[in-house]
Every structure is written in C-alpha cells, then in structure tokens.
C-alpha cells in the first residue's frame, strides 16, 4: 500500500510542479533544464523506491505509475474541464503578423521563440509572414503562414 501511495503522491506532485512551471518549461530543454531534469529524476527515484531496490518493487512501482496515468487519461477523456486543468489550452500569440505582447509575456515566450519556430517549420523570414502562431498545449509553437 505504501508503494502505491508513494507512486501516486510523487506523480501528482510532479504533475502540479510542471503545471506551475508552465508549458514552455517542458518544450524548451536547455542545458540547464536538462541538468535540472536529471537531478529531479535522481531525487524522485529515492522518494519512489525508498530503501527497497528490489526488481519487484521497481516493477510494481512502474505498474502503479502506468495505472495512475491510465486513470488520468480516461478521466481527461470524460471530463473536458479536467483535461483543460491538467493540459491547459492552446493560445494564439501572433495574429496576422502582429505579436500579442501581453499573451507572450504571460506565457514567457518572446518574438525570437516564434521566429525560430517559423524558420524551423516553414522557412519563414519575418513576423509579417505569419498568419497565426499558436502556443500548443504541449508547449510547442505551431505556425500558420500567411497565404
């Protein structure tokens, strides 16, 4: 039972923590973020496994975590509000070449991020060539070019 509680508690804690950090925190993996994720991984391992490093414990824990994930996926599919709460909603950041500054500021996205996404996905050169830039739920920026 303790193992299940540990698994659920750590899962929920990390879920809340990453929601607090915002969408961009997961998509922008800089060197610093990579180091941070490694350290979080190490700390989480200890919290999850405790002093029991047996294979059984690890396998049961993985099963518990998968189970929690399945439950959340089912619940998110059934309840739209929960889905929005856990995953957020997409957000338009550029409207017909015009950057929506307040939205960008609140989302911690700058023009450079949008131009980078535009270059990578469509080879665009300027902001005016973007019809819409959307910050997606997974933190990626999708670009719809002007016709």
């Amino acid at each position: 039972m303790e193992l299940i509680l540990r698994g659920v508690a750590v899962y929920l804690f990390l879920l809340i923590l990453f929601r607090i950090l915002g969408k961009r925190s997961l998509s922008e993996t800089t060197t610093f973020d990579f180091v941070l994720l490694l350290i979080i991984g190490e700390a989480t391992q200890q919290a999850l496994l405790g002093n029991d490093f047996s294979v059984t414990n690890a396998l049961v824990l993985i099963t518990v975590l998968m189970g929690v994930d399945i439950v959340f996926v089912k619940l998110k599919g059934r309840y739209k509000k929960l889905d929005r709460l856990l995953e957020g909603t997409p957000l338009i950041l550029v409207d017909h070449g015009k950057p929506l500054v307040l939205r960008m500021k609140e989302s911690h996205v700058d023009t450079e991020d949008i131009l980078e996404a535009a270059r990578l996905s469509h080879g665009l050169e300027r902001l005016e060539q973007i019809k819409y830039a959307v910050l997606e739920r997974d933190g990626q920026i999708s670009i719809i070019p002007s016709a």
Binding site: I20, N51, G88, T89, P90, L91, I92, E106, V134
Partner: protein
C-alpha cells in the same frame, strides 16, 4: 493580469482557445511560483529539519537538552543531553516514544537498561561520561506528530516532534 487587458483575437482557426481557463492558469502559476519561494525560505529556516525553526534547546534544573522538532523518516537525529555535576545520568524514555524510532547509537555506550512502568530506563556509568554529555541517535520509523515526556534524572522534559514522510 486582468482579463480585460489581454488581447482578444477573432480568428478563423478551429481552436479550443479558452481565455478564461488560460487566465486561471497564469494566476495559478503565479501563486505556485510564490508558494515555491515560500517553501524554499521555510526549508532554509528549518521547517523540514536542521534549522532555526526546528532546533529546540531546553535548559532545566541544570540539564540541557537539544533536539530537532521537525524530523524526516529514516533520517537520523540526535537527542543531545548535557548534565551538570551532581545530576544522575539516568534517562527514562516512554516505550511508546521509542516505538516510533530505531535506536541508531547511544553515546557513551557504557549503560544499563531496564523496563518498568512503561518506560525504558538508561542508566549511564557516571565515570565514563565525557563532560556529562549523552547522545541518543534515533532514526524515525513512523510519520506524523509525536509527543512524549522524557525524564532525565528527576526532571521532566516535554518533547514534541513532527516526522515528515
């Protein structure tokens, strides 16, 4: 950020953009970021052990006790006792209290124990005591609040811990 200040967009995309939900997200993120800072400060101050808020020092009848109020499960803690001359190095610890801990080490190790009236009594050989200092290194096994009264010589000490999981 007030909802009225955020740019409204009329778009042709089939997009589930819900601005009210987004505003709540941003609000929650700000509160969450503040909460993280508060937790960091409180941790530095010792809310989770080893700090100003956690360190407790009690002096009574010439006996000094130092211990941590906030403990973490499986992390060893030190109950530090200093006795003045003339004090008998005898400690009576409730069995109920000890049931929450594993005894890591007791320093010095020249002592006798016996059980009576719900207490475990530790009697140290006064000749072996260095500066009349006794350490009980205990490892918390349970979680939650723990209240108990230790008796050192004849003086009662109310001890309160909170053990985090």
């Amino acid at each position: 950020m007030k909802a009225g200040r955020i740019e409204k967009v009329k778009h042709s995309l089939e997009l589930d953009e819900k601005l009210s939900s987004q505003l709540n997200d941003w609000k929650a993120q700000k509160i969450g970021a503040l909460a993280i800072m508060v937790v960091i400060v409180l941790t530095a101050l010792g809310l989770f052990g080893n700090g100003l808020l956690s360190a407790k020092k009690v002096e009574r009848s010439g006996i000094t006790l130092q211990y941590e109020k906030f403990l973490r499960q499986q992390k060893e803690m030190d109950m530090y006792w200093k006795l003045s001359s003339g004090q008998q190095p005898v400690f009576r610890i409730p069995i109920g209290y000890l049931a929450n801990f594993k005894i890591g080490k007791i320093v010095p190790d020249g002592y006798e124990t016996h059980l009576s009236d719900g207490y475990v009594t530790y009697t140290f050989n006064a000749d072996q005591l260095t500066d009349a200092i006794v350490h009980f290194y205990l490892i918390p096994q349970q979680t939650g609040p723990i209240n108990a009264v230790w008796i050192a010589d004849t003086t009662r000490f109310q001890i309160k811990h909170f053990i985090y999981p």
